[in-house]
Subunit: 419 residues, 2 copies
Amino acid sequence: MSGLIRSFLAPANTPETQFPLNNLPCGVFSDAEPPRCGMAIGDSILDVQALEARGLLRFGGTLQTGEWTEFMALGPDAWSRLRHDVTGLLAEGSPQEAAVRPFLRPQEGVVLHMPFRVAEYTDFYASRHHATNVGTMFRGVDNALPPNWLHMPIGYNGRASSVVVSGTDVRRPWGQVKGPDDSAPRFAPSARFDIELELGAVVGVASDHPLSVTEADAAIFGYVLLNDWSARDIQAWEYQPLGPFQAKATATSISPWIVMSEALRPFRCDTPARVVPLPDHLCDAGPMLFDIGLEAALAPAGKAETIITRTNYNEMYYSAAQQLAHHTTCGCPMRTGDLLGSGTISGPQKKNRGSLLELSWGGKEPLTLDTGEPRSFIEDGDRLTLRGAATGDGYLVGFGSCTGRVLPAVNDPYARDET
Amino acid sequence: MSGLIRSFLAPANTPETQFPLNNLPCGVFSDAEPPRCGMAIGDSILDVQALEARGLLRFGGTLQTGEWTEFMALGPDAWSRLRHDVTGLLAEGSPQEAAVRPFLRPQEGVVLHMPFRVAEYTDFYASRHHATNVGTMFRGVDNALPPNWLHMPIGYNGRASSVVVSGTDVRRPWGQVKGPDDSAPRFAPSARFDIELELGAVVGVASDHPLSVTEADAAIFGYVLLNDWSARDIQAWEYQPLGPFQAKATATSISPWIVMSEALRPFRCDTPARVVPLPDHLCDAGPMLFDIGLEAALAPAGKAETIITRTNYNEMYYSAAQQLAHHTTCGCPMRTGDLLGSGTISGPQKKNRGSLLELSWGGKEPLTLDTGEPRSFIEDGDRLTLRGAATGDGYLVGFGSCTGRVLPAVNDPYARDET
């Protein structure tokens, strides 16, 4: 594992920065000017859109659109060249330091936007600990892990229109619920609103045929933190037989920075040992998970946060490459901007679980926050924040954070004059 | 029910045409020139894109994009005005007949394209006969209708990237399957490839809050025929617990003509009596189903077709308006171009079933085609064609057809040199 790549920007060379030159994640920011493409470096953002406009980067104008989709479609050679070119511009001793400095903006005070247009959103269910925990609660211990689970990554199509960037408030949803003691379903605000701590893989290369695991891995542009907000009471009542629908369609939050696959290369690791052999077309073709430390924090309104879980992306049973390969087996066309949620990333111990459903065991074992308050599910005003970083030799490759505050449900979803 | 609106075009005035002036469906066609917006009239197409370019129609340039999405976003007043204006142009005795005639093209010989960009695709499960039939086969007669089914329209998110226009060949998919006698799953071409005869509702008006049934009805631009190609063997193995995924992502075919909601107004009818009362926000708010006769035909390669089923959209338990209303309960944002499949439309009798799975009862009772051949599921080379029309007083409002031919599976999905 190589060490820190030093920049002429001192804040990018500290061991605690999420954004050293090794990282260079892709985002979209605005200040007085409209949203444009940038890359995070230390506590600054490099305005790569302006750099391309001035001829200091050359990517066919794909960085001029105010988001990364067109650039992502160029494919791995262009992705690698961008990292190479920007590393050259920002490196310690760069002869272009004076030319580049005018294109740096402080991160503080800018607004971060969706970094790409989500074409479609798919969510998987690929941590064995999570699937076992949830399966036990929803279907009993004997039916916890579905019979197909060890043979392919189980996933479902989510709702791309509901994907929002970190910082967006999330309104507690209404929905149809039926508790075990209810004689009939009720239409009510969700009382079991939850997070799912996930990593999202962003597809860069479109395809219209089945991809091998190696091809799928190469088609992934990068990764984001992803919180798949989930209404557990709506989900429990609706999900059989066709899967989650309204329980998962209120919002899915992603981090504003896409960490490119290449930046994560030093942190690649193997999936766990297979319980049963996978079919050939889904077998690992090299280490395709990543050692990325992850955490989720909950802060009640106006109060300090509590870290409610710590886990690691290396806990997954299936890699994003395996998920994408499976996604294409039937010939399903994939497009630039498709977003694949890993599924909730739960580790082996209770403190490593990636959802409140698991952490509070369906509300039967409420957490106690550092403020002394109990929590089974999200309460109005709570702010939930995901964070993640891979740890190198004296440097981090971080995702920043993915945060959102939960607002109370509206009084009447059909009152058009309610403010 | 008012009668035929007569046009100066004689073929639009026959009782057997699918496209009288009462209909005016929206499509995209190309000939020597690139794809552009048109409306079917008799055996012709009116080039409304050219008409707008010449100032004979005025919709802010939304008809200039080669598809209908931007026009659809204008909303119901514009939709109604377009029908009014074009009816005026094409009516018998129209003072503009001479001006309009140069903008008419014969339907024969043009290529029809996707009429709109599918934003996202959702598929429902809303015929009680179909849900009962499939539930009986997949889960046994005691668990046929899931407990939630009578309380809300059950649906799942499908894959927009897989939606294709009628006429597109469909390649038999590979997938993971496990029969009841298999000790382990196999990766193989689907041996139980099927159709689902559906109607698709096309959302015109975007929204970001829960819609009432009345609001949802008004947001629907129009309807298409929809064939949700389904690999039953892949589906049976993968669908629990998160719903259909690869079984439904090879292709979904739609008719090239969108019949606007307003053209179907004379054919509105009520949903069947409720078995249990619906919650207030999903209750019918007027007749929102339509009396539309539907059929599916199967033609083996090089042979005559057999009508394998006849059914009617008035068999649905939930209307598209109720489905869209339910889709938005959690605040799920809807966008112009969202496509909502009705779910397979099966009627009460065996001959009214909308899928081969039901018609052949899972392969146990093969059909006999008019050619004498048996069919349980689709065989390579088979052409499947859906047709539909509402019958007025001396005229039809038709959807044309939605057809596709099934090609054999590739020998090796991962051989990149296979042609």
